[in-house]
């Protein structure tokens, strides 16, 4: 995938900022931005374009979340271009360039080729922190090779941290010898609970033991209680006997005294008191009788001395009535004087009023002046209407001249306005121009675009090595297809690999051969080792000697030449026998050496055979190399052939693939240029037509316009003219409307004045009619009429009041007359001696006499009542006296006495008898209590039989027995209590069950933790295995590439890298110096060197990845800031090299790095971008 552009539409500090990444074959894009220029935001935008904007974005400080947008164009490995827009959100955040059409996530995923966000960040991104962390991890891990290779192959700098994290988390859960870890702790608690459970559980036998103890104690307690009851019974009986003995003796004494009083009459209780009371009451009654008789005689004498009041009392009511009226009469006489004087005053006032109205008229004739109510109301109404009518008329008369003045002013303004001109044609053409006007802008922007495109095309052609001839669509046909190039690329690569592999093989075979030769020389130099052939030769010589000897033994004469020939092999041997001996020894020695030096022999034999084999292999390889070379030549010829039509000398297929892609872009662009030029011509035509028409219209209206004026200028002119004309017309229309309104108002005011004047005449007539009864003329003003009416009202009110007073005086005179006649009549009937006395005096005297008569009557009635009372008292005293005497008689009979004087003796004897009988009763009651239910006589007999001297000791004995039994019972109660407590504790409680639940709860927790622990351990294990496996597979290529890069990036300070056996047997990575003689452990490297080692490994890992996978852009964030210039330049070179395989985007805010890159890297590779 390649990123063609990044559009920072609304993201972080950016608004509509685009970065074009399309240039370059893959390209090393260096994005330079000073601090605060938004480098980090751009970097985030790039990643978030591909993988979404996170929920809590920090890039929403300018644009609200809802408006955040980042867009871009991506080209997939198969050349398809996808244009996308990313918004912030939870779902469906991917849209097409129109910001409307949704794009499925899967569409983008296809372009990303399955690389997810995490993997992208790890594998295809590296920042300064990653670099430092990676370097530190290398040192911390002691150069552990598996880890480093895995880190290089995955981009994961912090593998060790992840692995340690897994281990630490697992350790927090469980350790074999731990206590506090979660699982260890739970197991510990489980053990405690188990023991708690055991304690809480109640065994059946324990319960049975307590139950048994309780039952036994209860039974024993029953026995003790029975004995105790028996002893207490015996004790109680003896104690009763002891108590009864004195009582029995007392009883006997009482009975003997009672016998002597057997004839005494038992008088009822209170007999004596009754007797004394009767005698006292008799004496009181006799005294009362004497007093009553004396009183009766005195009352009779007083009554006979009093007068008779009956005549006066019969006339009591009339006398009292007259006396009451006397007060009223006196008050009325006084009122009459006041009333009379008030009446006279009113009549005088009325007369004065009348005189002010009508000088001539007498008081008695004044009634003709009275006016009716409706007439008065009419006068008031008309008076009120008068004010209204007059006010309105005056107001209208003032207004009419003002309005007429306003009409004249509007007429003058209308006259001053200029005449309008016809602009309809102009208006029509302006509308037309409105549509054409945007085309002018479009045209203006088209020209530079076309120019730019042409320039780009020219540059591209030069860059692609094409001649200056023009391009056409057919050009594309002349170029070979991308598939063809791919086929060649594959063939090319395969041939290259074949050749490289052959050369490697040749080199290896040659090395092996020279090594074999060297070792053969070595073995020869040491001591020539006998070969099997040497032994065979020695034996052949020996056999030849033996054959000669055997022939001599057979008596054959030997040829001297043969013998000499044989002996010659053994210098120093004098005879054949000696020679044979020497040959025998020689063969034996050779055989012995062969046996002794068998190993060396075998080595030598193998070396010899190896040498032969290497020779053969070298010959074969030479052939193969030649064949491969010739294949390559043939293919190269074919390759050049297919480019002839374009007059191009092709470079490698891989390069030409990019060339082809750029070529296609170029052809597309050329097509684009033609299309836009045609478009521009069309636009120019439409605009010109419109301009001519507008100019004509304006000139017709005498508006000065230039022939070259742009359409927009003409349109502006036209708009101004039309606006001007429209303004004039609107002004004239407004003034006309105003005049019309004012004229209408003048007319209306005049009409209204006429109506009001008519109203005034009508009112005048009605007014004259209304005031006539008041004796007033038509000219009278309403206020005057009202004053006259007020005066008249006052006059008539006074007259009415004077009349009322007159009637009241007449009534008073009538009442005085009636009173005098009533007094005279009564005096004649009751007290003739008063005849001739003044009325008031007579009435008062009568009243006084009536009062005296009433007092006499009251006195007589009181004396009569007193007399009756004294009579009643006398009768009562007589009754009481008789009653008491009869009572005393009865009492004597009861006490069997003849006279009342004998009664006290009888009372004394009765009292003595009663006391003795009561004493006897008490004794017997006590005995009955003591006998405890048995018959009294029996008990007395039984008690009398008991020995009074032995009873005390018996009681003591029984008390002791009871004490013993009580103690025994108390002991048993304690036993029962404790057994019951124990059993009560075993109450069916659920403590044990509760612990069991708790155990289960802990087990649940353990299960969860065990699963988590297992996951952690398995994850750790798998990770370690995967590292090892990846190392085995990829160590060779990654280490080779990393070694080379490390050499370059450290500027030769290190020759490279090498795997060595670590102290614990695992392979570790070391740096190599001084022709491989010095190995530097990673712990011995400086921080900077460790960083460079990490970078070398990362780039090597990426390189390895690209061998098997489609390219993805590699994002580099300012990693070189701590490198010195030489190393930074070397690192940039390495990145530039990588950019031949995949797009590399480098962010930096260090100007010197940007300058370094511009100085060292070819323009065809480095593409610079600046963020402002």
């Amino acid at each position: 995938m390649k990123i063609l552009s990044l559009d920072l539409i609304a993201f972080g500090p950016f608004t509509k900022t685009a970065i074009d990444f399309s240039a370059g074959s893959e390209g090393l894009h260096m994005i330079y931005g000073a601090n605060e220029a938004g480098k980090s935001s751009a970097l985030r935008a790039l990643r978030q374009l591909l993988y979404g904007i996170p929920e809590r974005s920090t890039d929403g400080f300018v644009h609200p979340f809802s408006k955040m947008r980042v867009g871009g164009r991506l080209r997939s490995a198969n050349g398809e271009v996808l244009e996308i827009l990313r918004r912030k959100g939870r779902t469906r955040t991917l849209r097409a360039a129109d910001d409307q059409t949704a794009i499925a996530d899967s569409t983008l995923e296809a372009v990303l080729n399955g690389v997810d966000a995490g993997f992208f960040a790890a594998m295809f991104g590296i920042g300064y922190e990653d670099l430092v962390a990676g370097g530190r991890e290398i040192v911390r891990g002691g150069g552990e090779l598996g880890r480093l290779i895995f880190a290089a192959g995955s981009g994961l700098a912090d593998l060790g941290t992840v692995r340690d994290g897994l281990q630490a988390e697992a350790d927090a859960l469980f350790r074999p010898a731990g206590q506090k870890q979660k699982i260890n702790d739970a197991i510990g608690r489980l053990k405690q609970l188990r023991s708690g459970l055991k304690d809480a559980q109640l065994s059946g036998s324990e319960w049975a033991r307590h139950d048994q103890a309780l039952r036994a104690a209860l039974q024993a307690k029953g026995g003790v209680e029975a004995k105790l009851a028996e002893a207490q019974r015996s004790l109680s009986r003896l104690q009763r006997f002891a108590e009864a003995v004195p009582v029995i003796a007392d009883r006997r004494e009482t009975l003997s005294v009672l016998k002597s009083l057997s004839d005494a009459v038992l008088l009822p209780v209170g007999f004596g008191e009754r007797r004394i009371d009767a005698l006292t009451r008799l004496r009181v009654a006799q005294n009362e009788q004497g007093l009553a008789r004396a009183s009766i005689a005195a009352i009779k004498k007083t009554l006979s001395e009093l007068d008779d009041p009956s005549v006066l009392l019969r006339h009591a009511d009339p006398i009292e009535t007259l006396y009451q009226e006397l007060g009223s009469q006196r008050k009325a006489a006084k009122d009459r004087i006041a009333l009379e004087s008030r009446r006279n005053m009113l009549r005088t006032e009325a007369r004065q009023v009348l005189r002010s109205l009508r000088q001539d008229m007498a008081l008695e004739d004044a009634d003709t002046l009275r006016i009716k109510k409706p007439e008065a109301v009419r006068i008031q109404e008309l008076g009120a209407e008068y004010e209204r009518v007059v006010t309105r008329i005056e107001s209208i008369r003032e207004k009419i001249p003002e309005q007429e003045q306003a009409v004249a002013s509007v007429d003058a303004r209308l006259e001053d306005l200029p005449r309008p001109q016809p602009v309809d044609d102009l208006r029509r053409w302006l509308a037309e121009a409105g549509e054409v006007l945007p085309l002018e802008k479009q045209l203006a922007s088209l020209h530079p675009q076309v120019r730019n495109l042409l320039q780009v095309c020219t540059q591209s052609k030069a860059h692609l090595g094409l001649n200056a001839a023009s391009l056409s669509d057919d050009s594309r046909l002349a170029a070979p297809s991308i598939e063809t190039v791919r086929v060649f690329e594959d063939r090319w690569d395969s041939l290259e690999r074949r050749l490289a592999s052959l050369k490697e093989d040749v080199r290896k075979a040659e090395t092996d051969l020279s090594e074999t030769e060297r070792r053969l020389d070595e073995s020869r130099l040491a001591q020539d080792v006998p070969a099997e052939a040497d032994l065979a030769t020695a034996r052949e010589i020996r056999n030849r000697g033996w054959r000669l000897i055997r022939r001599t033994l057979h008596g054959e004469t030997l040829d001297g030449v043969e013998v000499d020939e044989f002996s010659a092999s053994f210098p120093g041997a004098g005879s054949l026998a000696e020679a044979f001996e020497a040959s025998l020894r020689g063969a034996d020695e050779t055989a012995d050496r062969l046996r002794r030096e068998a190993e060396r022999v075998a080595v030598k034999a193998r070396l010899l055979s190896d040498r032969a084999a290497f020779h053969a292999r070298l010959v074969k390889l030479g052939d193969e190399v030649a064949a491969a070379q010739s294949d390559k030549e043939a293919m190269r010829a074919e390759w050049v052939g297919i480019w002839q039509s374009l007059s191009i000398t092709p470079r490698t297929p891989r390069e030409m693939r990019q060339w082809l892609s750029d070529f296609n872009v170029l052809v597309d662009r050329a097509g684009d240029v033609w299309k836009r030029e045609a478009e521009a011509a069309e636009l120019t035509r439409a605009i010109d037509a419109c301009r001519v028409a507008l100019r004509r219209c304006l000139q017709k209206l005498s508006i000065p316009v230039g022939n070259e004026d742009a359409l927009s200028a003409l349109v502006q002119h036209a708009r101004r003219v039309i606006e001007n004309e429209d303004g004039l017309r609107r002004q004239a229309e407004g003034l006309s409307r105003e005049r019309e309104r004012l004229v209408g108002e003048v007319g209306a005011a005049k009409a209204r004045l006429k109506i009001l004047e008519e109203d005034q005449c009508r009112w005048q007539r009605q007014w004259a009619e209304a005031v006539r009864p008041l004796g007033l003329g038509a000219g009278t003003r309403p206020a005057e009429a009202n004053a006259v009416m007020e005066e008249l009202k006052s006059f008539f009110d006074k007259l009415r009041e004077a009349e009322v007073l007159r009637q009241r005086v007449a009534g008073i005179d009538r009442d005085a007359e009636a009173f005098s006649s009533s007094v005279a009549a009564l005096t004649c009937a009751v007290a003739p001696d008063l005849a001739g006395r003044p009325v008031e005096e007579a009435a008062a005297e009568l009243q006084r006499r009536l009062t005296a008569a009433r007092e006499v009557l009251s006195k007589r009635q009181a004396l009569q009542q007193q007399f009756n009372q004294e009579q009643t008292k006398l009768r009562t005293a007589d009754g009481i006296s008789a009653e008491i005497e009869s009572l005393l008689g009865v009492m004597c009979a009861e006490a069997r006495c003849k006279r009342a004087e004998d009664l006290p003796e009888a009372e004394r004897r009765s009292f003595q008898r009663r006391q003795l009988e009561e004493q006897l009763g008490r004794d017997e009651k006590r005995l009955i209590l003591l006998c405890g239910g048995s018959a009294l006589e029996g008990f007395i007999n039984e008690a009398s039989a008991v020995d009074p001297d032995g009873i005390g000791s018996d009681i003591e004995r029984l008390k002791e027995e009871i004490g013993g039994l009580t103690a025994e019972k108390s002991l048993l109660d304690q036993t029962i209590g404790s057994a019951r407590t124990e059993l009560g504790r075993m109450d069916g409680g659920d403590e044990a069950a509760r612990i069991a639940v708790e155990i289960q709860s802990i087990l649940g927790g353990i299960e969860r933790d065990v699963e988590h622990y297992a996951r952690l351990r398995i994850a750790g294990r798998v990770l370690t295995l995967a590292m090892e496996r990846f190392r085995e597979k990829s160590q060779g290529p990654i280490l080779r590439k990393a070694s080379e890069l490390f050499n370059r990036i450290t500027c030769g300070s290190f020759e490279g890298l090498r795997a060595e056996q670590g102290p614990d047997g695992h392979p570790v990575l070391v740096g190599v110096r001084r022709q491989g003689k010095e190995a530097v452990a990673v712990e011995g490297m400086s921080d900077g060197t460790a960083d460079q080692l990490f970078l070398s490994l990362r780039l090597a890992g990426l390189d390895h990845y690209l061998d098997a996978n489609e390219p993805m852009p590699f994002i580099v964030d300012d990693i070189l800031i701590k490198f010195d210039n030489a190393r930074a330049a070397a690192a940039l070179q390495a990145l530039a090299e990588l950019s031949g395989r995949t797009q590399v985007i480098v962010f930096t805010h260090h100007r010197h790095l940007a300058e370094l890159a511009a100085r060292d890297l070819p323009g065809s590779v480095l593409i610079e971008h600046h963020l402002n």
Partner: protein, 418 residues
């Protein structure tokens, strides 16, 4: 007409298994669940004024030694005595193993059948005859029903038997018998015990497992209780199930198919939770939650299963308060098919995991990582129902599948948004 109750497998004081307590979990509610269920049984018997109560074995847990449990039973059964209700039963395999039953003195309203022979109890007033035989030893492999007497004529005959019937998964094969044998006895009702899932094996005459009265672990789901049997004047029994449990176990499945992220799943879980709460509004519901299906949230969830389990628990506390408990959350989700895998070193890691998953013998090799832990684990862990061994390849395969997203998160995911 009369009514009686058929219950079985009360397992008094048997704890609810492996309920890992967590913040907000209603820990007090789960204690004494079997006791409260038994109290519900006693209350139901009294309220329904039943003629008698039949208990078809396993009043106690075999290895439970607390005599308090027996005393508690006596106190409850005494309430039935005061209400004039006899209790008739057989000892089951657990009762035979229990030390409590040996010394426990039952009130006089309780009749347990002997173990040496089948016996018959006549309730003359009702015209009811009950036949039964207890377990004498914990493991009775013979068919006890064979020896039961034939039905008594003119009476309502009830057979009381602790049996696995024809065999039921998850239950010891004790006192096996066939339906033919039971039918042939001519009884009017067979009250069976031992199998904890209630089941009517035969309608006429009813041959019935009452199930246990209180579920005790995640596989004993749904309502638990007893049968209230009404026998009409013609001697025809009608069955009516009465729930007695106070804690209801349920297996809740949350379909993850198509869920876009983990929060979606939590929302789906909330819906499922509410539907379970509606089923038993007055009880505490214990849920084993299984999240299954193909979802793009798979990696998110499995990369940190502990966290998402806590999310589910806290959603439960939030929605249900003290009315629900999450026993366990099992994630059985799958990533969407067709997701491409990264290449290079990370690809090598993924390939290795896939390779391991496919090879049980290699997988067993991983168990060496867990050998230390295996030695230390308590016996309760190893003996529990659903216990798993740390060297079981199937389990290791599951764990490996779970470990994969976790590992990938640690390696890659945290870098997504620098």
């Amino acid at each position: 007409m009369f009514k009686f109750i058929h219950a079985a497998d009360i397992h008094l004081d048997s704890p609810l298994l492996k309920l890992d307590a967590y913040e907000g979990a209603p820990a007090a509610e789960i204690r004494g669940a079997t006791r409260r269920a038994f109290e519900n049984l006693v209350r139901t018997a009294i309220e329904e004024a039943v003629a008698f109560v039949v208990i078809a074995g396993d009043l106690f847990d075999g290895d439970w030694k607390d005599y308090n449990t027996g005393l508690y039973l006596v106190s409850q059964v005494s309430k039935l005595r005061e209400a004039g209700i006899p209790v008739v039963g057989v000892a089951g395999n657990h009762d035979a193993a229990s030390t409590i039953t040996r010394s426990l003195r039952m009130p006089e309203n309780v009749h347990f059948f002997p173990s040496d022979r089948p016996d018959t109890l006549r309730l003359e007033r009702l015209g009811v005859v009950l036949h039964g035989r207890s377990f004498g030893t914990p493991a009775v492999k013979t068919d006890l029903a064979q020896s039961y007497p034939s039905a008594a004529a003119g009476c309502f005959n009830v057979g009381v038997l602790h049996t696995c019937a024809t065999g039921r998964e998850g239950h010891e094969p004790y006192a096996p018998c066939s339906l033919e044998t039971l039918r042939a006895k001519g009884y009017d009702y067979w009250a069976l015990g031992h199998v904890h899932r209630r089941e009517v094996l035969l309608d006429d005459p009813p041959v019935v497992f009452a199930g246990n009265t209180q579920g005790r672990h995640a596989r004993e789901t749904g309502a638990k209780g007893c049968y209230l049997v009404t026998v009409d004047d013609a001697g025809r029994p009608t069955l009516n199930f009465k729930a007695l449990d106070v804690v209801r176990w349920e297996a809740a499945t949350v379909d993850a198919s198509g869920a876009e992220n983990a929060y979606d799943l939590i929302d789906r879980f909330r819906e499922a939770l509410l539907s379970y709460l509606e089923r038993a509004p007055d009880l505490l519901t214990v849920l084993r939650v299984t999240v299954a299906g193909e979802t793009s949230a798979h990696d998110e969830i499995l990369s940190d299963p502990e966290r998402w389990m806590h999310e589910i628990r806290s959603a439960t506390v939030d929605e249900a308060g003290e009315r629900a408990w999450i026993e366990k959350v099992v994630f059985r989700t799958r990533p969407p098919a067709g997701a491409r895998k990264p290449e290079g070193a990370v690809g090598e890691l993924l390939a290795l995991i896939d390779e391991f998953s496919a090879a049980p013998d290699v997988l067993s090799g991983l168990s060496s990582e867990l050998a230390d832990l295996a030695k230390k684990l308590p016996r309760e862990f190893k003996e529990a129902p659903e216990a798993w061994r740390l060297d079981d390849p199937n389990r290791l395969k599951e764990l490996l599948a779970e470990a994969k997203p976790m590992l990938m998160r640690r390696l890659l995911q945290d870098r997504r948004n620098p």
